[in-house]
């Protein structure tokens, strides 16, 4: 197993005590595409970030097991974590505008990521960077390599980000709402690209999103989170057989082009969903 999470709990200290944001999440991930879906505040991003130990300082993380490829993340030294972060597991965030360095060209950033993990000469790194940009289906990789982030569109920036994350040949890609800032046409392209790269390179993909149909479309399995807990886990093809009323509510309350409805069904939240 690439990722094992067992009974993960994350809490934040507040003036009135500890506020639990993740309350006993268990997940496993092999070389497959797992989607985590939930609304804002459901704890989906925290769960993924805890794997790389990228949580704010006031967070308290507890788990029966939190492991990446057999390495206990909670017990690992900072040095071991650095070897995982960015090298064995890449993280792609929502908005490339904020994750790319504005004063370095795209090519230099990819080359630096490549050199940091593989060493080698600057010229080799620059060549590798252009290759990587070509792999993320950028039509004119040499030109994009010489551009600064502000000269790139959102979709292009996200491709550069993915190329950077692919540089060290990671085993796991964590994508936190990678396409929420992008247009629908670009969104589909980026997701198809990620899907393709993941299956071609045999990586694991953890896709975090608020969009259940989207995740169902691109992942093998889907975990639905609600209030810090996984309420339902199912094969992507079986969204039709979702049992939990929350999952069904999520699917129902979207307006649909093919099925007009005068009023949208509104989700009635049952307090029982909060119970373990």
């Amino acid at each position: 197993m690439l990722v094992e999470i067992k009974n993960l709990r994350i809490a934040f200290s507040t003036p009135t005590g500890w506020a639990e944001a993740v309350r006993g999440v268990s997940l496993t991930l092999g070389k497959e595409k797992l989607g985590i879906v939930g609304e804002s505040g459901s704890g989906k991003s925290l769960t993924a970030r805890s794997l790389l130990r990228l949580l704010p300082g006031n967070a308290r993380v507890q788990a029966d097991r939190l492991a990446f490829d057999g390495i206990d993340v909670l017990a690992a030294s900072e040095r071991q974590m650095r070897a995982i972060r960015g090298k064995r597991a890449g993280l792609i965030l929502q908005d490339p505008k904020y994750s790319l360095n504005p004063v370095m060209t795209a090519g230099d950033q990819v080359a630096e990521a490549w050199r940091a993990h593989k060493g080698g000469s600057k010229r080799a790194a620059a060549q590798a960077a252009v290759d990587l940009l070509a792999q993320v289906l950028i039509r004119d990789p040499a030109r994009v390599a010489g551009s600064y982030p502000h000269e790139l569109s959102g979709g292009m920036g996200q491709r550069v980000m993915i190329a950077m994350m692919l540089a060290p040949d990671p085993e796991l890609l964590i994508a936190d709402e990678p396409t929420s800032a992008l247009d629908a046409t670009v969104q589909a392209e980026i997701l198809r690209l990620m899907e393709d790269l993941v299956s071609r390179r045999g990586m694991g993909l953890l896709l975090i999103s608020h969009d259940l149909p989207l995740v169902g479309h691109f992942c093998d399995r889907v975990a639905v989170m609600y209030a810090g807990r996984v309420v339902e886990e199912l094969q992507a093809g079986e969204l039709t057989h979702a049992r939990h009323p929350y999952t069904r509510g999520l699917l129902n309350c979207m307006p649909r082009l093919s099925h007009p409805e005068a009023r949208l069904p509104v989700m009635v939240r049952d307090p029982a969903w909060l119970a373990p």
């Binding site: 046409t185 057989h241 007009p260």
Partner: protein, 254 residues
């Protein structure tokens, strides 16, 4: 109610809207869809008076609009913004946000009007003296809608009103917008990148691409796939493709 004819809008040296025309009858809704940068929000901002750098003709209720709008215009036309976190003043309570239009237009009975406005958007009276950071995203957007309705306008400009919200909250806000329209006979001009949202609220849809209105069609035609422009077809295909899974699920649960 709204008539726009040959509208061109510039940002500095760049023209971002290249002469678009549209009509929205009283009490109806017109939806503008398109990707980011297609100019759809710019049209709203030009009509609302926030962007004065435009040429062409715009009419409200058959009266031509000037660059500069008078106070009466703002009683008739109001706008709801995309980001409910950015559209409320961070240091002002809900009460203050809702009072502002009343003070500006010199309307009396502030207490009664605010209480009524809160109940119109289905917010409890207990939120009245809270600050925006104490509210959820959906509650904030309801406050923004309530604020827009304070001066009892006829026209509401909706700029991606649900795209920053979770889908379950989006459903509530869309239902609310529909109820308000029926109750008050409002005219909507809605902008969104989400085809399904636009189709849900509007009987007529305009598709924007690169500053041009490439196609105007009825929602029924869109749903049935009777589209002419390739961009419309592309947007429709993407939406329908993703709906397949969800649609089947909904059928199973029904």
């Amino acid at each position: 109610m709204i008539a726009i004819d040959g509208l061109r809008v510039r940002f500095g040296p760049n023209e971002v809207v290249h002469g678009i025309s549209l009509d929205v009858p009283r009490g109806s809704s017109f939806g503008l869809v398109g990707e980011s940068g297609s100019g759809k929000s710019t049209i709203l901002r030009a009509f609302s008076g926030l962007n004065p750098d435009w040429t062409g003709k715009m009419r409200l209720d058959n009266v031509p609009l000037d660059r500069k709008r008078d106070r009466a215009f703002f009683r008739r036309v109001q706008m709801v913004f995309q980001d409910p976190y950015g559209s409320l003043h961070p240091r002002q309570t809900v009460d203050r946000a809702l009072s502002e239009p009343l003070i500006v237009h010199g309307l009396q009975d502030r207490d009664a009007r605010i209480a009524q406005a809160l109940s119109d958007v289905a917010l409890p009276n207990s939120v009245r003296f809270r600050y925006p950071h104490q509210l959820s995203g959906g509650q904030r957007q309801r406050v923004a809608i309530a604020r827009a309705l304070m001066a009892e306008p006829n026209v509401l400009l909706l700029d991606e009103p649900t795209s920053a919200l979770d889908v379950s909250v989006q459903a509530e806000v869309l239902n609310l917008l529909r109820d308000l329209q029926q109750r008050r006979g409002l005219t909507y001009l809605l902008v969104s990148h989400n085809l399904a949202v636009v189709a849900h609220l509007c009987p007529i849809i305009g598709v924007m691409q690169g500053g041009d209105l490439v196609e105007t069609l009825s929602t029924d035609d869109l749903r049935a796939g009777r589209v002419h422009h390739s961009h419309t077809a592309q947007l429709r295909a993407l939406t329908v493709e993703l709906e397949d899974g969800g649609e089947a699920a909904a059928r199973a649960s029904a």
